[in-house]
């Protein structure tokens, strides 16, 4: 697959290296000449020196035949511009933006860039997984799907304690427990299993219903939420 990467910082460099190793055809567009030289020295002739939000630069880089474009500069406004141009003007099938300021995620989505990687949010999720006080942590979303995969920890006073998978539901849809980790063991859940303190679960939930899951685990009134 021909993949274009805009931004030759640490993320761009790492992506480039990995994607080449996966045998993709990769071209990186980077503004700084010295950085381009460094990358060429390490990875071969994969870097084009230029401003990736210039339409002429993108054209020269062969964007019209790119199957994927990933914008990973440190400036959200540049990532947005590159992605909008790639998606709307050149109809690149897959466009992914790195988001540096977490507040910009919904702005990007509103402006048509719905596949983004919110770096601060990812770090937060990984930290939350390590905190015993967190009862639910978002793990994965999928393109073209309205389901999210979450991690759930059963604690004292949890609203699902002493219940079984079949007794769980959310206002906006199903809370399906896919997998349980209890002590050293792990396995697919039987619908009659009773949840115990210390259980760690992998569940699927309707997208945007994290608030409902949180309310359910807190043992409170569960109403449809929008987060």
């Amino acid at each position: 697959m021909y993949i274009m990467i805009v931004g030759g910082g640490k993320t761009g460099y790492y992506l480039c290296r990995k994607l080449i190793a996966l045998e993709h055809e990769v071209l990186m567009v980077e503004k700084r000449l010295d950085r381009c030289d460094e990358i060429r020295e390490e990875l071969g002739s994969v870097a084009l020196c230029g401003d990736g939000s210039e339409i002429s630069v993108l054209s020269k880089a062969g964007i019209s035949r790119a199957e994927m474009l990933i914008a990973v500069t440190d400036e959200d406004e540049d990532n947005l511009a590159v992605c909008q141009i790639a998606k709307q003007k050149f109809k690149v099938p897959q466009v992914i933006a790195k988001i540096n300021n977490p507040r910009n995620e919904h702005i990007f989505a509103k402006l048509g860039i719905d596949r983004s990687v919110n770096v601060a949010e990812l770090v937060l999720e990984r930290v939350e997984l390590q905190l015993s006080s967190s009862t639910v942590v978002h793990l994965l979303s999928f393109p073209d799907s309205s389901l999210d995969i979450v991690f759930v920890r059963v604690t004292e006073g949890s609203g699902i304690l002493d219940k079984s998978p079949k007794e769980l539901s959310l206002p906006s849809g199903c809370l399906t427990c896919l997998f349980r980790i209890r002590g050293q063991g792990a396995g697919v859940l039987n619908q009659d299993t009773i949840f115990e303190v210390g259980d760690q679960l992998i569940c699927s939930i309707p997208s945007g219903s994290m608030g409902e899951v949180r309310a359910l685990l807190a043992g409170g009134q569960v109403t449809a939420s929008n987060d």
């Binding site: 947005l80 141009i85 709307q88 702005i107």
Partner: protein
């Protein structure tokens, strides 16, 4: 009229002081504190230090009831992004932005954004003058 001006360079400062002199309520935002030195000493509008691509900065500055918005920093991408935030998130009635790159200006037009490219405007003017 309440107008937001993003970027206090030469043109931003000139625009802000003209609007202010005509009695409009002006909020001018820039990331560089010294840029406000370009405003006249009798400027009555609000100067705000901050990054206008951050929605919260705009909200705190009172953008919700603004009538006009002009993005005129020296970076095209920043102008395009703030202008789109003003238009699509805050629904400001009149939104303009400066886009130096004529190709990009054309592209943003297809997204419904009103951009002005000083590059094409001045190049055209110079050409006309030459041909006179």
């Amino acid at each position: 009229m309440k107008v937001f001006v993003i970027g206090c360079g030469r043109m931003g400062a000139e625009l802000a002081s003209r609007l202010d002199a005509e009695g409009h309520q002006v909020v001018i935002i820039d990331t560089d504190a010294s840029s406000f030195d370009k405003l006249p000493s009798d400027f009555k509008g609000t100067t705000l230090l901050g990054d206008a691509t951050d929605e919260e900065v705009l909200r705190k500055a009172g953008i919700a009831d603004a009538d006009g918005f002009v993005a005129i920093t020296r970076e095209d991408d920043k102008n395009a992004m703030t202008a789109q935030i003003a238009k699509e998130i805050f629904h400001i009635p009149r939104v303009l932005c400066r886009i130096y790159d004529p190709l990009r200006e054309e592209f943003y037009k297809t997204l419904g954004l009103e951009g002005l490219s000083p590059t094409s405007i001045v190049a055209n003017l110079l050409k006309e003058k030459l041909e006179q």
